[in-house]
Amino acid sequence: MNNEENLESDRNDIRTMNFDVNEIRNLFPILSLRVHDKPLVYLDSAATTQKPFSVIRALEKYYEQQNSNVHRAIYTLGEEATAAFEDSREAARKFLNAEKTSETIFVKGTTDGVNLVASTFGESVVNKGDNVIVTQMEHHSNMVPWQMLCKRKNAEIKYIPVDEKGELILDGLEDMINEKTRMLSLVHVSNTLGTINPVKKIIEIAHSRGVPVMIDAAQSVPHIKIDVQDLDCDFLTFSGHKVYGPTGIGILYGKEKLLEMMPPYQFGGEMIIEVKFSGAKFNELPYKFEAGTPNIADAVALKPALEFVEEIGYQNIYEHEGCLVSFASEMLSEIEGIRIIGNASDKAAVVSFVIDGTHPYDLGTLLDQMGIAVRTGFHCTQPLLEEVYRLPGTVRASFGVYNTIDEVNYLIDCVKRARNMLL
């Protein structure tokens, strides 16, 4: 597309699709793979997204030209690695619109982020008889750490219920929150149902009762612009690998005043300012929460991933993926015996389904034979599927910015074919 045209369309209609999906696909080397001698159709981006060249190159460049340990190095290479590492932190701060760099902590991923908060903040504020609120649609990573905390503390864990459509039932929230509620932690976008939760509204309700809120943004960051100041969340965490970045790196955002009052998570190098035989003084934020040599390479390569998303633009991503989800849902619904699980009015790039008389595992196995990568099972939301929906799992197709309408069409054909084989 030529630049003038691009500008023109921006001016005229911000909703115009501003990218060519084939150009985007060319940035992802893995998408040209063949599986079982068929072109790979990758529909598992909610599990992990594929990586563009810019991210792969950044990893190579780091190990080829920058590798050395960060902070405290007095030599040039060490300074360069530190600069690249801190540069990436600054990119993440900007990406989330956090006020301060000190509020942007590198973690391993969302699971690590939740565990950090549950083990430090949670450990400090939750006591016997208190309660913590999560939702029925949490990923295990934002459920089990709170369950364990409550068990340790003899506190109660409460679940905001989910309705038939896959939306949170918020009517009872005001009553659920009481003077013993110490924390509310919830998922922004459900990895199983695709539901986009009204987190801003929920944060307002919780704050009006003095309850801090943590947001699991693992599934929203790839699809929706996050502004932590606008949301006013107290904590928010996401994984790099779900937003076109490397595995093993993620971000935990926390409000400075809360991070300051929290005890450290782990102890060792990097997180101290002074150590004596008699004890240690801890480093300032964000280093207080980054014990040991960090995952430098993956942290550095997170920056081009975030830039990739920003360059395409969330409006474009949302529109493109929205088309894929609507089209897939519509076409799938026409298949006999199919049930789409998760029909929230506001949905991100996930379509979960079951077909009467077939097991998700059977469907997934046959789809794999046809080159399609989908996920089957509980998607780490076992209580939601088993205890709310009474299902043995679902087949989940999830989309990234690189998926096409042709791929959705192919999925539909293959689901029909698999169904005929099984029934």
């Binding site: 097991h359 595992y361 059977d362 034979q369 089957t376 084989m421």
Partner: protein
């Protein structure tokens, strides 16, 4: 009639699969086998008889009759049923000692290795372990 050895049954299966030239026919055959699997009695479909490590639910029982082990299984996924039907066809009707010492070479040779590899979440490894564990129990050996 002389009972077939474990090795002979495996050779039969390899020959049957050699007739199929694409994955679809192989899977159609496995699905067909699954539909005819010896079904576990309803009272045995409990946690006690469930195989851990499969994405679908699998129940397995075994009894010793005249020195030979006879297996029954069921699953809520038909491909899993088909896979376990193949294993039962190989193992059932043999002595615990034969089963313990058997080598399941047929999985590699029916051109399904990439589909039935232990890395997949189909629980193939678990199924084989559970079946061999039954043999060990009946042979009076300890089970890990």
């Amino acid at each position: 009639m002389q009972e077939k050895t474990l090795k002979e049954t495996q050779e039969d299966i390899i020959e049957e699969f050699s007739l199929f030239d694409d994955w679809m026919s192989k899977y159609e055959y496995i699905i067909e086998l699954g539909k005819h699997l010896p079904i576990v009695d309803a009272q045995h479909k409990t946690e006690e008889f469930k195989i851990k490590g499969c994405q679908s639910q699998v129940w397995l029982t075994a009894e010793l009759k005249d020195g030979k082990l006879l297996y029954k299984a069921d699953s809520d996924a038909v491909i899993t049923k088909g896979i376990i039907a193949l294993l039962i066809r190989v193992f059932s009707g043999h002595s615990p000692e034969e089963i313990i010492n058997s080598d399941l070479g047929f999985i590699d040779k029916i051109g399904m290795h990439e589909h039935l590899s232990p890395n997949r979440s189909n629980g193939l490894t678990s199924m084989i372990n559970y079946m061999k564990n039954y043999a060990k129990i009946y042979a009076g050996q300890s089970v890990q």
